[in-house]
């Protein structure tokens, strides 16, 4: 584990840009897409060592909240406070990015998105307490998809899963590496998994912790989630009804009760009015809520390292042992 500190400002997304709300990097084609509360999205391409932005016509009238490149990186999805998802793709003829909207039946802000490995299905978690899977098939740029355990008819905007008992705003969604299962975390401090191969059955595990904000699959059965408790937790899903908590990923360091120097003693007294030795920091690496988890190293089916960023302005890289 290693800790990088980016100063005192909260990190809202995995990058060092403070007024964007979300950012996503496409590793193969080396393009970045950013979206912000100014209702715009830009695609940045690296030309001669400088990142050049291209405006995307998203046509939304509220802030953009989340953005994700598709696995093949030929399109990206953008969630917004305008209660719709914008799926954007590049049109070669006119050399610009176009967007298609998914509106029904979303009733409130879209809080999180994730693509299925087949590049067609898109999961969305939203503030209307629902978790849905849509088809984002764009016939202009790709071939018709084959059937998946989630369904076989997939015209654009088709809803393949709609789960309404999430119990709270759905903060984050993540498909499993095979795409057969979908995990999400919601504001009622619960983590849930829907399994396509078992008739889309949903298993929910309520936790005794503060709500989780981000969820990530690190293998086909192991899931890591983190949130307001400032520490990543590992869960394991082996089938319907078998979702359980495994362990805390962060091992709190024992505070050493060594001899404090006189200098430190007076410094504590001066700055914090502490007269005796007290541990006021949290016993874990992050000192404030973790907002996002991201895969760093390793294929999706066997993640070796993942990173987390939080409101404390720090980014931590974690090793995961399978």
């Amino acid at each position: 584990m290693s800790l990088y500190s980016f100063g005192l400002e909260p990190l809202s997304c995995h990058a060092w840009n403070k007024d964007r709300t979300r950012i996503d990097w496409a590793p193969e084609s080396n393009r970045i897409v950013t979206c912000a509360s100014d209702r715009n999205a830009y695609v940045w391409t690296l030309k001669d060592g400088v990142w050049k932005p291209t405006l995307v016509l998203v046509r939304i009238n509220r802030a953009a909240t989340c953005v994700k490149w598709s696995p093949l990186e030929n399109k990206f999805a953008l969630g917004s406070g305008a209660k719709l998802i914008s799926v954007c793709y590049f049109e070669k003829e006119n050399d610009w990015w176009l967007s298609k909207h998914i509106k029904k039946p979303i009733n409130s802000t879209v809080l999180s998105l994730d693509w299925h490995p087949n590049n067609i299905l898109l999961a969305a978690g939203s503030a209307d307490l629902h978790c849905r899977i849509f088809s984002a098939y764009i016939k202009d740029i790709e071939d018709k998809p084959g059937p998946t355990p989630w369904g076989s008819k997939m015209p654009f905007g088709e809803v393949l899963l709609e789960y309404k008992e999430c119990g709270g705003w759905v903060h984050s969604v993540c498909f499993s590496p095979s795409g057969d299962a979908l995990a999400w975390v919601s504001h009622n401090s619960a983590i849930s998994v829907a399994n396509a191969t078992q008739a889309k059955e949903v298993t929910q595990l309520t936790t005794g912790h503060l709500p989780l904000l981000s969820v990530l699959y690190v293998s086909e059965t192991e899931i890591v989630a983190a949130g307001h408790d400032c520490c990543p937790y590992q869960f394991s899903y082996k089938g319907p009804g078998c979702l359980e908590f495994v362990k805390k990923v962060d091992i709190p360091k024992q505070s050493s009760k060594g001899n404090m120097s006189a200098m430190q003693h007076f410094r504590n007294l001066d700055k914090k009015a502490i007269t005796e030795e007290e541990e006021t920091g949290l016993g874990c690496l992050h000192q404030n809520s973790i907002t996002e988890l991201c895969v760093l190293e390793g294929p999706k089916a066997k993640v070796e390292k993942f990173s987390s960023v939080g409101l404390d302005g720090a980014m931590v890289v974690w090793d995961f042992k399978h």
């Binding site: 209660k83 119990g167 619960a190 309520t206 503060l210």
Partner: protein
Amino acid sequence: MSKNTVSDRFRKVDVDEYDENKFVDEEEGGENQLGPDEAEVDSLIRQYPSLFTRNLMGALQAVLKNPPINTKNQNVKDRAEGLVLKVLSSFKSTDIEKGVQSLDKNGVDLLMKYIYKGFEQPSENSSAVLLQWHEKALSAGGVGCIVRVLTARKTV
């Protein structure tokens, strides 16, 4: 001036009612929910399975059945809350922990909902009793339990 500028009734119009895109909670039929069975709970409170101890554990399980979550009938909800409070107050302080441990996860969540509902309308001794129950329920359910009370759209 031809317009009447004195009346300000327009300020009292609820504009949200006219919004087409207004978020409406999905209604689920709750007319048949009657809340926990009063007779059953009463009889369990008065039961004495062994010589001196009352069957309070049974009463607790019974009163947490059939919570009036979906109904809009305020009377049913108030009656249920009163009944729960009666059972909770009958427990001895030392038995509260055992009572909480006899419940499953959903039971603890439901208990916490009733506890907070009870806090809203304090009567003579209710808050003290509820606070004791709150402490034990918190150690069983964790902070997540309280978060679920706050996020639940349908409450008891």
